[in-house]
Symmetry: C3
Subunit: 132 residues, 3 copies
């Protein structure tokens, strides 16, 4: 298992970590299999989505904010309950196929770290499992 | 890694791909492990849910539509921001156990491709990793 | 593949299954790899989130309830469509890295079974794949 640091700069942000993950896959020498990336935090997550137009990221964060409202009934003392919910909606992990040493992603796909309670110093854990 | 084509017929649709995935697992000869399926698109996703009653699919799409609203603040020029958000909510991949050569799914579970910006010609990538 | 029973006591509930999953990882003797956990039901799911403050669980269930409304247009006869939607939002599986025989989870992370249509007797399936 390898640790990759991720530094976030804002309260909510998507950070494209595709390149760093690819470099680690290459360093590990995995040719074919699955690359598993785990977010070790409960107010952040991971997703695979658009890599090109930053407006998609803007719209994604706006949509999550509209969807996950700050409710009167919330009890959690830290006041970041919406960040926990968004974390579970995106998920704490993604896994991506590795084919011939490269992450297999669609033309418009990137692997992004989703910060919902930053800015913070974060990290993800990477594990590669070989395929048949 | 194997590629499976998926043809969608409507703007939003769930396509049950369980049988095609099972056939590929059998062709690969995987007995025990994990079958990973990756959706290579940013306006579609994958989920494991009800296989029997088509009304559940209807209600799922209706609910996602109610939840992910077309907001005034959206900037993405293509006008399909809700499809990107729904893609991340469902997720770009699912993985399913393989036991004795068969996908291990619950009695009512199917593996479905989720189209949110069709109709289109789509594809998924399949990878099998053996278990201990 | 190993089966772990999960008993739920309420209509909606998060059950922390981290300890039971860890015990099975130890019993299987997996040192390094990925632990895959599959929820075999369509009105329940799995997530990795806060392990410490029960108020986070309360707020998570409240938020999902606010987000996934019981719509007039629903057709599914069993009346549990929101449970199916919440199931897909959380996801039917999680996978967690295993490092040196231990589930690699962040300080505040737990692996939780998400019941949305209980109380019921449920089960999850566990599979371990070794890493490079």
């Amino acid at each position: 298992m390898r640790t990759l640091p991720v530094t976030t700069a804002r309260r909510e942000q998507l950070v494209d970590i595709t390149r760093a993950v690819q470099e680690t896959v290459s360093a590990l020498g995995c040719r074919d299999g699955i690359c598993h990336v785990h977010c070790a935090h409960t107010t952040a997550g991971l997703t695979v989505n658009e890599n090109a137009d930053p407006d998609v990221v803007h719209d994604m964060l706006l949509s999550l904010d509209d969807m996950v409202k700050n409710l009167r009934g919330f009890r959690h003392g830290e006041g970041n309950s919406t960040a926990h919910v968004k974390s579970s909606l995106m998920g704490a992990h993604v896994s991506v196929p590795i084919a011939d040493g490269r992450l297999a992603l669609g033309k418009w796909q990137a692997l992004s770290f989703c910060e919902f309670d930053g800015p913070r110093q974060r990290h993800v854990w990477m594990t590669c499992t070989p395929s048949l």
